[in-house]
């Protein structure tokens, strides 16, 4: 049994390492990007509750920047970009695509709302 427990711990460690610090029990929110919107455009989080955003694109390369949270990621076709957030303060934090993607690029934005 002891050996199995150790194996279990190791397995969790490997999973974490291969999924950008995603702990198995953490909440996952999938966010898709496409010209010229994010879905969902409003992401609601709870203060102190860790969450992992899984970002994918439905068409081309996009960006995901939340400057107030110091997040700046690319979203590449065919790949999942994972961003782990532990909300440390309540409020609304704007995000937008920061890889110019066409005539509606300026509209491609949303907000993270952290509630108590």
């Amino acid at each position: 049994m002891r050996g199995l427990r150790i194996l279990g711990v190791s397995l969790v460690a490997i999973l974490a390492a291969t999924s950008s610090d995603v702990a198995a029990e953490e909440k996952v929110i999938r966010v898709t990007a496409e010209k010229f919107k994010f879905t969902p455009a409003v992401i609601e989080l709870k203060l102190g509750e860790p969450v992992v955003l899984e970002l994918t694109t439905l068409d081309r390369k996009h960006g995901f920047q939340v400057s107030d949270l110091n997040i700046d990621e690319n979203i590449e076709p065919g790949r999942v970009t994972r961003v782990r957030i532990v909300p440390g303060q309540t409020g609304t934090f704007l995000f937008h695509c920061d890889v110019f993607c066409g005539s509606g690029h300026e509209d491609m934005a949303g907000e993270i709302v952290v509630k108590p």
Binding site: G63, Q65, S67, L94, D98, F100, G102, S103, E106, A109
Partner: protein, 310 residues
Amino acid sequence: MNEPRGRREFIKVLGFGGVVFASGLAGACAHTLRKSGGHEDDFFFVQLSDTHWGFKGPPNPEAANTLRQAVRAVNALPQQPDFIVFTGDLIHTTDDEAERHRRMREFKAIVADLKAPVQRYMPGEHDASLDQGKAFQEHFGATHYSFDHKGIHFAVLDNVSDPRAAIGDAQLDWLLADLKPFPASAPIVVFTHRPLFDLAPQWDWATKDGSKAIDLLQHWKNVTVFYGHIHQEHHFRTGAIAHHAAQSLIFPLPAPLSQPKRAPVPWDPAHPRRGLGFREISVDESRVVLGLREDSLEGAVQPVAASGSY
């Protein structure tokens, strides 16, 4: 500058040996230079920005006319500027590559009517970010370069061909090499599209590595940056460097972070050209005093009867 205080009157003097702002009707710089009996080496140039040729939409139902109105307004100045600089977003982009080229050709045909002897161009993200500047270079030439005019060194920086809004180390190396021969006291003017400083990163009003450019430029003590992108007049300083954003020629945008979204200011049919305009920059014989005059298209031009076709 000794201006009567006019419609949107404010006159302010800042550092950089004194930068003068004035807002009002067109023709002020030419008028001022004549009125002051200006030195024969005095000159002025004009900045036009964000013309977004090809844009269609409620924020400017008259978009097919606005660029021509701007050309008429500049041509109507009492004196012609030494040169005109367009600080990016010449066209409004589209995914259709052939259409982008067509808009660039149309833009060139319209601005060919400008009387000023020289026009300088640089790209905005709408001109260059979808193809890393390829079409822009084909129609307008290099995306970054420098030139000298009557004792001032002008450097044009490209912070849009990289779709992530970076200048890039190679271009920064070029800038350093370009400026190195000049003493710290030399008057230097930088043209770029996006703000080099973090004006509002939440609205994408920044340059990824703009701080590197600012750090580099701090070595020179008389640097002024003129840019566009934010579709409104804005003035800011980073150390000794003055940064001035210009109005657009398509639709105004709200003040930075003044509302949740950076949506265009709604079009007002009673004032269809409100918030649209261009800038005259006068340079006196000292070469370190720049007079800025913000000219509104509203009231400065008569409506164009027909949009024409190209």
